[in-house]
């Protein structure tokens, strides 16, 4: 197992270099630059333009800029935002807990509903449940996030008044940030109603962000289960006289879960993409919205630093998924 982790860690180094390169050049490939955007309709004189480009160091040759940036990265310096003038690292980790909290809730929502739905659909193949669940999953997968979110807000917040429209917690609650996770902080604050308020604010964004992963997980679980259910050892288990529940839950599901875990890991990327829209609509102070704003402002350091940090996190998650995979499937960890 130790060697397996080491091999995985070794793979991270070239990936990291690749990501820093991509992050650096990607934002510079977009037309326009931060100085022009700062000037806006007013326009800017060539002298002032040159002065500001020089101030930000954007007048240096690209390769030089990259070397400075990469050297800083190696020293743990992710740069300073052009717009807010604050260190990217701080900006990122101020906002990251909000995104993480929402993403974790969305994954839990997707797994808790998706895995059982997939299992039942597979066991009761071709039943009405199977058809309904799979059709719903298809709809969920194809639904535009923006539209889905507004629809939920209008119905549940606007018409029914069951959930708050947006934000992380009611404005009447104001307490110090401890972990950055609103559910935990509101609980720690000890204020009556704070935790409930935070939880109720999470409901709609969780559903919106979790919908696509839910659909994917349900479909993946179903097909993996179908494959496993046809295996000889399942027939053997049934022949041994095990209860149908034991056959499905222990013998089949355990093996079917291997591809499902991979799928869940892969959904992290989907969650990041979904977080951009979900956060914008629900006024959720996370990194998805921050990244988009930074791109629009051509805040080069923020986009570069943000991308590298996100990549590091995704790489970390994938490493954990791989390790889980290794735990579940001994064949993988013994591979050379």
């Amino acid at each position: 197992m130790f060697g397996f982790i080491l091999r995985r860690l070794g793979l991270l180094i070239p990936t990291f270099i690749g990501v820093s390169l991509v992050a650096f050049f990607f934002i510079r490939l977009l037309p326009g630059d931060p100085v022009l955007l700062l000037a806006g309709e007013r326009g800017i004189s060539p002298e002032r333009y040159a002065e500001l480009m020089h101030r930000f160091g954007f007048d240096l040759p690209l390769w030089k800029q990259f070397i400075y940036y990469f050297t800083d990265l190696m020293h743990g310096d992710f740069g300073t935002s052009i717009s807010t003038k604050k260190p990217i690292f701080n900006e990122f980790f101020t906002l990251f807990p909000a995104t993480l909290e929402l993403s974790i809730c969305a994954v839990i929502f997707a797994v808790v509903l998706g895995v059982p739905a997939g299992v039942i659909a597979a066991v009761k193949r071709n039943s009405w449940f199977d058809h309904t669940a799979m059709a719903t999953a298809l709809v969920g997968y194809s639904m535009p996030i923006f539209w889905w979110a507004l629809l939920l807000i209008i119905v549940f917040s606007g018409i029914l008044g069951w959930t708050p429209v947006s934000g992380r917690i009611s404005l009447m609650f104001f307490f110090p940030k401890v972990t950055g996770f609103m559910l935990i902080d509101s609980f720690l604050s000890g204020k009556a109603g704070a935790f409930q308020s935070a939880a109720s604010h999470l409901i709609l964004p969780t559903i919106v962000l979790g919908t696509i992963p839910l659909a994917v997980i349900a479909r993946q679980t179903r097909s993996a289960m179908l494959e496993v259910l046809g295996e000889d050892y399942i027939r053997t288990a049934k022949a041994k006289g095990l209860s149908p529940f034991r056959v499905v839950a222990v013998h089949a599901l355990r093996n079917a879960l291997i591809p499902v875990i991979t799928t869940i890991g892969l959904q992290i990327g989907v969650l990041m993409a979904g977080a951009i829209l979900t956060e914008t609509i629900f006024s959720w102070p996370g990194i998805g919205k921050w990244m988009v704003d930074s791109i629009f402002r051509r805040d080069y350091p923020a986009v570069q630093g943000g991308l590298v940090l996100i990549a590091l996190i995704v790489m970390g998650v994938n490493l954990v998924v791989d390790m889980l995979y290794g735990l579940v499937n001994p064949k993988i960890r013994h591979q050379r």
Binding site: A39, R42, I82, S166, I281, S283, P285
Partner: protein
């Protein structure tokens, strides 16, 4: 830990206020996050709404709901005969905010004024580079060239010497970038090596003092008890940052906020008929226009420009693009601005006459570019759609149009190109309510290759606006600007298209909110019904 204790203290403060009988909390669903809390390095209205408007005061101020300049931290001022020396007499007994992170030991005085301006003007000032050195408005309003010196005469007198007479200066000093900071606070931060805090934990003399900011989520302020203009009627001011316009409407309806900016034009009608909402509106201080590149053939011929102007059906644009939330523009300045020349006749919508005039100019089978911005702006919510309508109008007079568009930053860059082909959709929102801010900036000779997108340099026009900036007599200035508008219409460097209307939806409980013609959102003087 420090932040923790600060927040704890703030919490206790707010909790204390909340328990006081009927603390009034005003919630504003703002459209975005401020870049910082020092307004001077920035240029966005979102940042000004959250920084300069609540937290700071200036030497001069705009009277609420108007563009009139009134005394602020300067109680009065004298202007020398030749208009180049301004002597400001400062208000005495003005307090800076006392917060958890700063306790002032002295009142506001001339040192604060010098500090606030010198840090933007003097490249050797230790504070010049603290926020990247991007003093956008100081350079944008041409202050480095206008200001010769800023001197302290005594603790309550400041002398500002200009390089030439400049009548709009008093209005410039009422703008956000001219907000007065506390020098004592800045010195303390410098001594502690915490310069960036000036931009994050603001101290001012404004109506509200800063309490806390949770990035991208909530900004909290409380009314400043010792505000020189008197304590506000509301106790707490909260900005709930809500980027999506449809969600802001839902929050307003659900009672989660009292007021919201920038509704989608498509939502305005529904809001008008909503009983729970009051909708205020005001003609915006802006202009959306189509600038011909008057340096390039055939647009150097005034007949061609006039003909193309007559080919555009502006009312159809107002209906389709603004969905009625705008008005047809005939002058380069909006009708709410002083010196607006209402006697001017707009070029009529007359395709037949346009065809004739084109023939007269010897222009046949013209094909041209119309540039459409990729972003929605107050003066033009949908430039692409506008360009398509113009394309159809021009087709009626035999002119073929290719619509071009670039990503916004690239568009801004190419729009400054003197060799640019065709006509460009662009616009402007006023900064200080002075006609100079439109006419000289957008159409003066010094703006060619920059903010003057028509690259139009007309001697007569330029002489009029230059003179108007130099004289201080209002009647004379008005006359000069009126004449300049006549020249503009005769020469037609632009097709003036529209002035948009600003809508501000708010709860029925909001009392005495005034829509700001300059487009900002300020909450001094506002009250809430019990």
């Amino acid at each position: 830990m420090k932040t923790m204790s600060r927040l704890l203290a703030a919490t206790m403060l707010v909790a204390g206020l909340a328990s006081a009988a009927h603390a009034k909390t005003f919630v504003y669903c703002s459209e975005g996050s401020p870049e910082g809390f020092d307004p001077a390095p920035y240029a966005s209205g979102t940042t000004f709404d959250a920084s300069s408007k609540p937290v700071y005061s200036r030497l001069t101020e705009f009277e609420r709901g108007t563009t009139n300049v009134i005394p602020g931290l300067a109680e009065s001022w004298d202007i020398s005969e030749d208009g180049t020396v301004y002597t400001f007499h400062l208000r005495k007994g003005v307090k800076f905010h006392t917060t958890e992170y700063f306790t002032p030991t002295r009142d506001f005085n001339a040192d604060d004024v010098i500090f606030s301006f010198q840090r933007q003007n003097d490249k050797n000032d230790p504070w010049y580079a603290y926020a990247g050195g991007t003093w956008e408005y100081w350079t944008g309003m041409d202050m480095p060239n206008l200001v010769k010196s800023i001197e302290k005469v005594d603790d309550y007198t400041v002398k500002l010497t200009l390089t030439a007479a400049n009548a709009p200066m008093l209005a410039n000093l009422a703008m956000d970038f001219a907000s007065i900071m506390s020098k004592e606070y800045a010195d303390k931060l410098a001594a502690e090596g915490k310069q960036p805090d000036l931009n994050q934990l603001p101290i001012g003399t404004g109506p509200f003092q800063f309490v806390a900011y949770e990035k991208d989520a909530v900004i909290r302020y409380q009314a400043f008890a010792d505000y020189w203009g008197g304590k506000q009627k509301i106790d707490d001011l909260v900005f709930a940052i809500t980027p999506d316009a449809s969600v802001r409407v839902q929050k307003l309806k659900a009672g989660e906020c009292h007021l919201m900016p920038y509704p989608n034009p498509a939502d305005v009608e529904a809001l008008q008929s909503d009983d729970s909402v009051q909708l205020m509106s005001q003609a915006g201080l802006n202009i959306g226009y189509l600038a011909y590149n008057t340096m390039m053939k055939p647009f150097d011929d005034v007949r061609v420009r006039k003909a193309l102007n007559m080919a555009i059906n502006k009312q159809a644009i107002i209906d389709a693009v603004f969905q009625g939330t705008g008005q047809v523009a005939k002058n380069p300045i909006p009708p709410t601005m002083w010196s607006y020349n209402d006697n001017i006749q707009d070029d009529p919508y007359d395709p037949e006459a346009a065809k004739k005039l084109l023939a007269e100019a010897g222009v046949k089978d013209l094909s041209m570019k119309v540039w459409a911005m990729p972003v929605s702006r107050p003066y033009n919510p949908n430039a692409r759609r506008m360009a398509e309508l113009i394309q159809a109008d021009y087709a009626n007079v035999g002119v073929k149009v290719e619509i071009v568009s670039y990503e916004w930053a690239e568009y801004l860059k190419r729009s400054q190109d003197k060799e640019r082909d065709g006509a460009l959709l662009m616009g402007w929102t006023g900064d200080n309510g002075d006609p100079d801010n439109f006419l000289a900036v957008l159409l003066g000779c010094s703006g060619v290759g920059g903010s003057n997108r028509a690259n139009w340099c007309n001697e007569e026009f330029n002489a009029l606006v230059t003179k108007a900036a130099a004289v201080s007599d209002m009647a004379e200035r008005t006359k000069l600007y009126e004449d300049a508008q006549v020249v503009f219409k005769k020469e037609a460097p632009w097709a003036t298209i529209a002035h948009s209307t600003t809508y501000v939806p708010m709860s029925k409980a909001v009392i005495d909110y005034k829509v700001d013609p300059l487009g900002s959102h300020r909450f001094d003087g506002v009250d809430l019904a019990e």
